[in-house]
Subunit: 227 residues, 2 copies
DNA sequence: ACATTTCTGTTGTTACAACAACATAAGGAG
DNA sequence: CTCCTTATGTTGTTGTAACAACAGAAATGT
């Protein structure tokens, strides 16, 4: 694994190559390769290492108490996973991490990451701050999903999600990063019911849909909030 | 505000009183008092300060796009709020923070908290690590709520929530920290429908309920997972 | 003790989301 | 191009959750 790869990742951003070289020893980095479908972290385990995908992709999966499996996220090169669990000792994983294909994963021990560095190197604390930023962003994403799924109706969830996308992208016309099935999963609704609701909303003139391109039409609903 | 109060809070845990005294200058702490119902942070604003409740309680509220208000959380003395927003610059608040009663709030500027301290004081980095721990814990709580609300049925959500509580408290008999209405809000379901479902489950012999005391009866459903 | 308010459970009605099953469209591989 | 696969939309049925309205219980205040 190349250090030049690491310094471009969000976790190591802002750290110089030579700093990383000197830091490498005290971080106890371990790299491990996995074949497709191999389990990297299993739900119920407790972990001490943050995982960073170096090559390939890993899936974050959740098995509910009836055994239904659902894919929550796909993590690609440079991105990290399980950092919240690794930072809270003794917290059992609610999710499993599985190799989506052949892949390579770097493990970073949080004890070594968080402990006071005897060399008092500034990059250590830079790393912790990067981690805090990443955790905070994930936090906001989780909160946002909770808000978008708090409405009891499919239409409510859609309007909540779509109006956020519009605001976020600064236009009434915008692309969403999900397929219909993924959007249904994100909003925790049935896919066909979602398609159906989108059709209805189009017939009522609330919006226009073309594949992943959505346009919210001015019905006064979203504009009148400024009053 | 007493420094002896601060060192007992999760954010300042592990920091010595004399360290805190020397750190006080570079943290730019500001304390402010609010009267009941005063808005501390308003949804849509961007913030740079973590809030810590010193006295009283504050409410974390969410207004959906139709103006329905819901209370998400109540934060008491020693606890912090809005830290995820303060750590991700330019992220508009999805929630408002309102004084639940007369209260006093301490504001901690994240720029000063996160910047490299010229005095290279170790407590600074201790503070950041505490913050990371808090953020990670909140992360897990948010994830957990998403899992508990991902089932499409009320019964599914209840079983998910209750079986976690049982596992977490290490007993089939346990107390939950919510009233019926709060539990309904947490699971995003209607309160009366929730009561109804609990009755049904009792009639079916799945569990016993007495106020906030729940007992999951051995029906094989929850035990058979170990296979 | 009483009155008042809040909390919880119950019932019946209604709306709507899930589900199944199918139709159509779009993409990809040969 | 044709075949095959996947993605998306459509329809009808069924179950169930929301909702409204109320009753009883519990908590709170006077």
């Amino acid at each position: 694994m190349e250090l030049s790869f690491l310094i471009k990742t969000p976790l190591f951003r802002g750290i110089l190559l030579q700093e990383l070289e000197s830091m490498q020893a005290c971080l106890h980095l371990k790299e491990k390769k996995y074949k497709k479908n191999e389990v990297i972290y299993r739900a119920g385990d407790t972990v001490n290492d943050i995982g960073m995908v170096v090559q390939g992709n890993v899936s974050i999966e959740h098995d509910d108490i009836w055994g239904n499996k659902s894919i929550l996220d796909t993590v690609g090169p440079g991105q990290i996973f399980a950092e919240a669990y690794a930072c809270v000792p003794e917290s059992p994983l609610m999710i499993s991490v599985v190799a989506a294909g052949d892949c390579s994963v770097l493990f970073i021990n949080t004890a070594h990451l968080l402990q006071f560095c005897s060399k008092a190197c500034s990059c250590h604390s830079k790393l912790v701050r990067n981690l805090l930023t990443i955790a905070s962003q994930k936090n906001l994403n989780l909160s946002r999903r909770i808000f978008h799924t708090s409405s009891k109706s499919i239409r409510g969830r859609l309007l909540s999600y779509l109006s956020f996308q519009a605001a976020s992208q600064g236009s009434h016309s915008f692309l969403i990063p999900y397929s219909r099935q993924q959007l249904a999963d994100y909003l925790s609704v049935d896919r066909s019911a979602l398609s159906n609701e989108l059709s209805k909303m189009q017939k009522e003139g609330l919006l226009r849909v073309n594949k992943n391109q959505f346009t919210i039409l001015d019905t006064g609903i979203l504009e009148s909030e400024e009053i």
